[in-house]
Protein backbone atom coordinates (compact mmCIF):
# COMPACT_ATOMS: atom_id res chain seq x y z
CA UNK A 1 0.00 0.00 0.00
CA UNK A 2 1.59 3.33 -1.00
CA UNK A 3 1.93 5.97 1.69
CA UNK A 4 -0.67 8.73 1.89
CA UNK A 5 0.25 11.65 -0.35
CA UNK A 6 -0.11 14.43 2.19
CA UNK A 7 -0.12 17.99 1.00
CA UNK A 8 1.15 20.70 3.37
CA UNK A 9 -0.45 23.55 1.44
CA UNK A 10 -3.87 24.09 2.96
CA UNK A 11 -5.17 26.55 0.40
CA UNK A 12 -4.07 24.42 -2.53
CA UNK A 13 -5.71 21.40 -0.92
CA UNK A 14 -8.96 23.35 -0.41
CA UNK A 15 -8.99 24.17 -4.12
CA UNK A 16 -8.17 20.58 -5.02
CA UNK A 17 -10.98 19.24 -2.83
CA UNK A 18 -13.44 21.62 -4.47
CA UNK A 19 -12.28 20.73 -7.98
CA UNK A 20 -12.41 16.98 -7.32
CA UNK A 21 -15.57 17.28 -5.22
CA UNK A 22 -13.95 15.24 -2.47
CA UNK A 23 -13.88 16.00 1.28
CA UNK A 24 -10.75 17.54 2.76
CA UNK A 25 -9.01 15.91 5.71
CA UNK A 26 -6.90 18.41 7.63
CA UNK A 27 -4.49 16.88 10.12
CA UNK A 28 -3.05 19.20 12.77
CA UNK A 29 -0.05 17.42 14.17
CA UNK A 30 3.09 17.77 16.23
CA UNK A 31 4.76 14.58 15.08
CA UNK A 32 7.60 14.81 12.54
CA UNK A 33 6.25 15.47 9.05
Amino acid sequence: MPAIQWSNDVDAAILQARAKHVPLLLDFNAAPV
Binding site: Q5, P23, L24
Partner: protein, 146 residues
Protein backbone atom coordinates in the same frame (compact mmCIF):
# COMPACT_ATOMS: atom_id res chain seq x y z
CA UNK B 1 2.36 8.45 10.61
CA UNK B 2 -0.70 6.31 9.87
CA UNK B 3 1.21 3.09 9.28
CA UNK B 4 -1.98 1.03 9.33
CA UNK B 5 -2.73 -0.01 5.72
CA UNK B 6 -6.50 0.15 6.18
CA UNK B 7 -6.23 3.72 7.45
CA UNK B 8 -3.92 4.72 4.58
CA UNK B 9 -6.21 3.14 2.03
CA UNK B 10 -9.31 4.79 3.45
CA UNK B 11 -7.75 8.25 3.57
CA UNK B 12 -6.35 7.91 0.06
CA UNK B 13 -9.68 6.75 -1.34
CA UNK B 14 -11.97 9.23 0.38
CA UNK B 15 -10.15 12.50 1.09
CA UNK B 16 -7.80 15.15 -0.14
CA UNK B 17 -5.34 14.85 2.77
CA UNK B 18 -3.39 17.81 4.09
CA UNK B 19 -1.11 17.83 7.09
CA UNK B 20 0.05 20.83 9.05
CA UNK B 21 2.72 20.87 11.75
CA UNK B 22 2.37 23.06 14.82
CA UNK B 23 5.94 24.36 14.65
CA UNK B 24 5.96 24.95 10.91
CA UNK B 25 2.49 26.41 10.34
CA UNK B 26 1.17 27.90 13.60
CA UNK B 27 -0.92 30.39 11.62
CA UNK B 28 -2.89 27.52 10.10
CA UNK B 29 -3.63 26.20 13.59
CA UNK B 30 -4.91 29.61 14.58
CA UNK B 31 -6.92 30.02 11.39
CA UNK B 32 -8.87 26.82 12.00
CA UNK B 33 -8.96 27.00 15.79
CA UNK B 34 -6.88 23.88 16.37
CA UNK B 35 -5.89 23.92 20.04
CA UNK B 36 -4.27 20.54 20.51
CA UNK B 37 -2.52 17.82 18.57
CA UNK B 38 -3.53 15.65 16.98
CA UNK B 39 -6.67 17.36 15.77
CA UNK B 40 -8.39 16.11 12.62
CA UNK B 41 -10.96 18.17 10.79
CA UNK B 42 -13.06 17.03 7.85
CA UNK B 43 -14.44 19.65 5.47
CA UNK B 44 -16.94 19.11 2.71
CA UNK B 45 -15.74 19.93 -0.82
CA UNK B 46 -17.11 23.45 -0.47
CA UNK B 47 -15.12 24.12 2.69
CA UNK B 48 -17.79 23.62 5.33
CA UNK B 49 -16.52 21.94 8.47
CA UNK B 50 -18.32 18.64 8.93
CA UNK B 51 -16.50 16.91 11.76
CA UNK B 52 -13.61 17.40 14.15
CA UNK B 53 -11.93 15.08 16.60
CA UNK B 54 -9.01 15.54 18.92
CA UNK B 55 -6.53 13.15 20.47
CA UNK B 56 -4.81 9.97 19.36
CA UNK B 57 -6.96 6.97 18.47
CA UNK B 58 -5.97 3.39 17.61
CA UNK B 59 -6.58 2.36 14.00
CA UNK B 60 -10.06 0.85 14.40
CA UNK B 61 -11.40 3.80 16.37
CA UNK B 62 -9.73 6.20 13.98
CA UNK B 63 -11.34 4.56 10.96
CA UNK B 64 -14.70 4.64 12.69
CA UNK B 65 -14.29 8.39 13.21
CA UNK B 66 -13.36 8.96 9.57
CA UNK B 67 -16.39 7.00 8.42
CA UNK B 68 -18.52 8.93 10.89
CA UNK B 69 -17.30 12.16 9.32
CA UNK B 70 -18.48 10.98 5.90
CA UNK B 71 -21.83 9.95 7.36
CA UNK B 72 -22.22 13.39 8.94
CA UNK B 73 -21.39 14.93 5.59
CA UNK B 74 -24.15 12.92 3.91
CA UNK B 75 -26.50 13.96 6.72
CA UNK B 76 -25.62 17.64 6.27
CA UNK B 77 -26.36 17.32 2.56
CA UNK B 78 -29.76 15.85 3.51
CA UNK B 79 -28.95 12.58 1.79
CA UNK B 80 -30.86 10.74 4.46
CA UNK B 81 -30.72 7.24 2.99
CA UNK B 82 -26.99 7.42 2.39
CA UNK B 83 -26.42 8.91 5.82
CA UNK B 84 -28.47 6.19 7.55
CA UNK B 85 -26.64 3.46 5.64
CA UNK B 86 -23.28 4.93 6.61
CA UNK B 87 -24.22 5.35 10.27
CA UNK B 88 -25.52 1.78 10.51
CA UNK B 89 -22.39 0.44 8.81
CA UNK B 90 -20.24 2.13 11.46
CA UNK B 91 -22.30 0.57 14.27
CA UNK B 92 -21.95 -2.84 12.63
CA UNK B 93 -18.30 -2.66 11.60
CA UNK B 94 -16.96 -1.03 14.77
CA UNK B 95 -19.40 -2.18 17.47
CA UNK B 96 -16.91 -1.58 20.29
CA UNK B 97 -15.91 1.89 19.14
CA UNK B 98 -16.96 5.13 20.76
CA UNK B 99 -18.43 6.14 17.41
CA UNK B 100 -20.78 3.14 17.25
CA UNK B 101 -23.42 4.37 19.68
CA UNK B 102 -23.41 7.90 18.34
CA UNK B 103 -23.76 6.40 14.86
CA UNK B 104 -26.74 4.35 15.98
CA UNK B 105 -28.39 7.48 17.35
CA UNK B 106 -27.87 9.41 14.13
CA UNK B 107 -29.00 6.45 12.02
CA UNK B 108 -32.36 6.75 13.76
CA UNK B 109 -32.46 10.49 13.16
CA UNK B 110 -31.58 10.04 9.46
CA UNK B 111 -34.35 7.47 9.09
CA UNK B 112 -36.81 9.84 10.75
CA UNK B 113 -35.68 12.71 8.52
CA UNK B 114 -36.15 10.55 5.43
CA UNK B 115 -39.75 9.61 6.08
CA UNK B 116 -41.03 11.76 8.93
CA UNK B 117 -42.08 8.67 10.86
CA UNK B 118 -41.55 9.14 14.61
CA UNK B 119 -41.50 5.35 14.84
CA UNK B 120 -37.92 5.50 13.58
CA UNK B 121 -36.94 7.45 16.69
CA UNK B 122 -38.94 5.18 18.99
CA UNK B 123 -37.27 2.09 17.51
CA UNK B 124 -33.89 3.69 18.13
CA UNK B 125 -34.73 4.52 21.73
CA UNK B 126 -35.89 0.92 22.30
CA UNK B 127 -32.70 -0.43 20.77
CA UNK B 128 -30.65 1.67 23.17
CA UNK B 129 -32.73 0.56 26.13
CA UNK B 130 -32.31 -3.09 25.21
CA UNK B 131 -28.67 -3.10 24.14
CA UNK B 132 -26.88 -0.10 25.65
CA UNK B 133 -29.00 1.11 28.59
CA UNK B 134 -26.08 2.73 30.42
CA UNK B 135 -24.80 4.83 27.54
CA UNK B 136 -25.08 8.58 27.29
CA UNK B 137 -26.72 8.09 23.91
CA UNK B 138 -29.44 5.95 25.50
CA UNK B 139 -30.23 8.91 27.75
CA UNK B 140 -30.38 11.22 24.76
CA UNK B 141 -32.66 8.82 22.87
CA UNK B 142 -34.87 8.15 25.90
CA UNK B 143 -37.05 11.16 25.10
CA UNK B 144 -38.16 9.34 21.95
CA UNK B 145 -39.45 6.28 23.77
CA UNK B 146 -42.80 7.66 24.85
Amino acid sequence: MYPNPDVSKFITEHFVPVKTHIKEQPAVFKRFGAQWTPTLVVFDPDGGERYRFEGYLPAGEFLAQLEFALAKDAFAREQWGDAERRFRAIAQRYPKSDAALEALYWAGVAKYKAGGDPGALKETAEQFTEQYPESAWAKKASVWAA
